[in-house]
Point group: C2
Chain length 289, copies 2
């Protein structure tokens, strides 16, 4: 699909715009590789701070833009240490070990608070690798589902901005209609893609891994405060497979395995329309009660 | 169960022995919190370097012994950057953000090679938290299985030492008997506990999360080289639940979802005999062909 030449930039691309920085705020020297300034994007605002999927994508984008980067992402883990404020932040992506075909990264996102104190807001680790063709198989087949065009798109709740940036078409396990405490399973399935459509890349796939509302809301029909503390994304596709997916929908599926004393887990899968399992993802989420 | 008072120390406890270190090898000052010296333990030797589960447990042990540590582990991610040599290493565990009830950690494991060059061998992040009692539920029930005492313990292959440190009783999906390339599913279920028995704690649970042989061996009956590059462990139990588990067996289950161009994923669950889901764990594993 060809885009009009003068179309405005996609909000996701605006969010991924990172400006190179010197190695520390004291230094006035040349740019240091892997040091960037970014900011929460208003189009991806959440109830408190920005949508975590986009922050994870920004951490990955810092790795991908490092001039010494080897290969493509295989595994990314982000830990959400504190809620970002609506102000610029600094990301440092550092290659701590480069092997023949794999590379290990640490990423730190820092922000200065209203009192002028620097704080770590997010830590991340990433493994990138130069993949070679090998025997491959998808052992988690994509669930059967009607085509995205045949699934209604429900009205978008206007509580948070970032929801508007995704075209989500629920297949199973939508947000509860009544918050009446009735227990259900924690499974949600949906078709999803960027809104407006945008060709898939590793950062946008990372953000899509976090589009599922908190499983405890589904499980209990009870809207308790909840927030992800750690998320891992495993990539099972290379740039070619993402390019082949293009602006197509992904089928996403998420469910929990355990809720225990303030934290639950969530595991999810993202397939493209052709059935390739592009990513599996796991997270631990705080919940209040 | 009471232990004889003069029993020798358990090999796992020997492996977890970390000696406090000064903050850097140049410093001769007092001990720095979170800096430790450790070493691979010969009883947990793998084909190349030590069993990765024990190395992950050592990284967690460094966090747990930090005097500023808040609460109990909720999430741990370790990235295996290079194979450890059979020599001492240094671990630094650093609390990078302490909130009211959660704390975020980064961990680095460094080793000096034969040429005297320091290298990062492992990176990790950890979230610890003070849990409060909340509504809780196990949504992934423990599979039915005969009691551990009714399941035969197969002879232990003598190829690697660490296997001898676990009492593993396969229920489903054992190591292939014939490496004939015949495809199967990737599911393995087993009863497992430390050998000799040892009361469960967070480090030993971490090591147990990594006892499953590479899924590609099961899936293809083909013994290709394989090694974990990143592993996350989510803890769904507190110290009380681990104490209640004691020296009992865990039911472990592992399977893959995707094998793609040199890497596959593995997701696993560990329940105690009473059916509490103690941990869920996920990893990405390199495989050669």
């Amino acid at each position: 699909m060809t885009r009009p030449a003068l179309m405005t930039r996609h909000p996701f691309d605006e969010a991924m715009a990172l400006a190179p920085l010197a190695a520390s705020t004291e230094e006035r020297g040349p740019e240091a590789p892997g040091h960037f300034q970014g900011a929460p994007h208003p189009a991806y605002a959440n109830m408190v701070g920005p949508f975590g999927g986009v922050t994870a994508a920004q951490a990955l984008a810092a790795v991908l833009r490092h001039p010494a980067r080897l290969g493509e992402p295989v595994a990314l883990t982000v830990n959400y240490a504190a809620a970002l404020i609506d102000a610029p932040f600094r990301i440092e992506a550092r290659p701590v070990r480069t092997n023949r075909s794999t590379q290990h990264w640490t990423v730190t996102l820092m922000q200065t608070d209203a009192q002028g104190v620097d704080g770590v807001m997010l830590t991340a680790t990433c493994v990138t690798a130069v993949r070679r063709p090998t025997w491959s198989a998808v052992d988690a087949p994509r669930p059967d589902a009607p085509a995205p065009g045949q699934v209604a798109r429900p009205p978008i709740p206007k509580r948070v901005r970032w929801i508007e940036r995704y075209d989500m078409r629920p297949l199973t396990g939508p947000m509860p209609m009544q918050w009446d405490g009735s227990e259900a399973d924690s499974l949600t399935r949906l078709w999803v893609r960027d809104e407006p459509p945008r060709p898939l890349d590793f950062p946008s796939l990372t953000a899509l891994a976090d589009v599922f509302f908190p499983r405890v809301w589904r499980r209990r029909a009870r809207m308790t405060p909840a927030g992800t503390v750690s998320m891992s994304v495993y990539f099972h596709a290379g740039a070619d497979e993402l390019a082949a997916t293009g602006e197509g929908y992904l089928l996403g599926q998420a469910r929990a395995q355990s809720f225990f004393n303030g934290f639950f887990d969530q595991s999810a899968e993202l397939w493209n329309e052709a059935g390739h399992l592009l990513a599996t993802t796991h997270q631990v989420v705080y919940f209040k009660e």
